[in-house]
């Protein structure tokens, strides 16, 4: 698997898109720092961008990479390489290179700005870690979709829908149900609903770390009580890991049964 990972990674490192993605984050970091002139505020703005954008890029890139490398995949399938290694290697190749673009692209401007001497370092690291998690989660979901759809247009369509659902529609439904059932105690429900969507989970994690949960009112207090504890942090990290592992398992399973 490592060999496939290596080749996928090299392949991506040479493609224009990794650079575009890297430069975008570099630019974003620089611009935000100049406009805000304050590390903590820049981190908050950045969070809003990352939470929406990272899943989108991960999804699109994952689907695109899978469909574009079909030929390569077929070449590999005739070689003495395990099937699961081919697909898992490609997946980790894509996810790693995307995460690297994110971490390095954002890291460089913040390091130059002096993040190491600032109290925001932990918030910033958490931001990068969740960003990397989101990349791994959504790239895996994209691979699952691409593997189960032979038709590229359909695959792209489902992938975009998935992103739209997770990043936008889910929140809408969540809010509506909170309004609709406002007469009932909802703290358990909202905790659970947050856990089940990696985008929401990442957002809440970062918001609470930034200590602006007071803005969230009563819910914020409930969340702070839960996520603010070590147990909450552990559980939500575990949840993010589960969100990586489950789609990865599906990649493995679908790849094993597929005809080429």
């Amino acid at each position: 698997m490592l060999k496939i990972l290596k080749y996928s990674f090299y392949d991506l490192m040479r493609s224009r898109w990794s650079y575009v993605y890297f430069l975008f984050y570099l630019l974003l970091g620089v611009v935000l720092l100049f406009l805000n002139n304050d590390l903590s505020k820049a981190v908050i703005t950045l969070m809003n961008v990352i939470i929406i954008l990272v899943p989108l890029i991960g999804t699109i890139f994952g689907v695109m990479y899978y469909y574009n490398s079909r030929e390569f995949t077929e070449l590999l399938l005739a070689q003495p390489v395990k099937r699961s290694s081919i697909f898992l290697g490609q997946y980790f190749g894509v996810a790693t290179s995307l995460s690297m673009s994110l971490v390095i692209g954002l890291g460089v401007p913040f390091i130059f700005y002096g993040i190491f001497n600032s109290s925001a370092i932990w918030d910033f690291s958490l931001l990068l870690v969740t960003g990397a998690f989101l990349t791994f989660i959504f790239t895996a979901l994209a691979f699952v979709i691409a593997l189960s759809n032979e038709n590229r247009i359909k695959g792209f369509g489902y992938a975009i829908l998935l992103w739209l659902f997770m990043a936008v529609i889910y929140d809408g439904i969540f809010l509506m149900s909170l309004l609709y059932f406002e007469d009932y105690p909802l703290d358990k429900f909202s905790l659970l609903a947050t856990m089940l969507n990696p985008v929401d989970l990442s957002r809440v994690l970062i918001l609470l770390k930034l200590d602006i949960s007071a803005l969230l009112g009563y819910t914020g207090a409930v969340f702070q009580k839960f996520f603010g504890t070590n147990f909450g942090l552990l559980l939500s990290s575990a949840m993010l890991i589960v969100w990586v592992l489950v789609p990865t398992f599906f990649i493995w399973r679908i790849a094993k049964r597929k005809d080429f």
Binding site: R14, S15, L75, L77, A78, P80, K82, D259, F260
Partner: protein, 236 residues
Amino acid sequence: MIEVKDLYKKFGKNEVLKGIDLTIERSGIFSVLGPNGSGKTTLIKCILGMVLPNSGQIFIDGKPLKNNFKYRNEIDYLPQIANFPGNLKVSELIAMIKDLRDSKATKDDELIELFKLQPYLNKKLANLSGGTKQKVNLVLTFMFDSPLIILDEPTNGLDPISHLRLKNLINSEKEKGKTILITSHILSFVEEVSDEIVFLLEGKIYFKGSVSELKEKTEQPDFEHAIASILSSSYA
């Protein structure tokens, strides 16, 4: 060396292979023939493990294929359509496949010389013509010394000189005692090189034997007419 037992495969509602039994024991050149959609490529892909059969078993050297991938070290496969990752250079692709197979004894230099590919080594695969890609494909296939070679439409897009070189190459591999499995629509090529013919029709093996046996069976004077008579009798 290859044993296929009662192999069934369908894609959706389309039944492609309907009970294939095939044993290839000795070395030599075996051609798999059949009209379009008769299941030639599917059969080959089943042997390679790229397509998973619905039922039936395949053994290579007595070992079942299921959940096994190492056996592909013993197979050189030439895919039908030479599609390669476009942003790799020819030399990089060759180096990569060598790396993946962990094979020390390769003869890629010899083959590059044979097909006159030196000027293309530093070009990206996306910029090569169809015939040149097929030559690269041939280099990738023949550079390892595996006992079983599977060629899917090897003559696709080749110019006459390369065609001739390919024929010599195939014959020299045969003399080393290898088993070579070919599918092709070019009957003159098949007649010239093959020792035995496997004729697939609608997912079943219709005929297995030498060219002369086929001529006898169909009572036709030449190979092309023999094939045509099978097809017309089956479609009639």
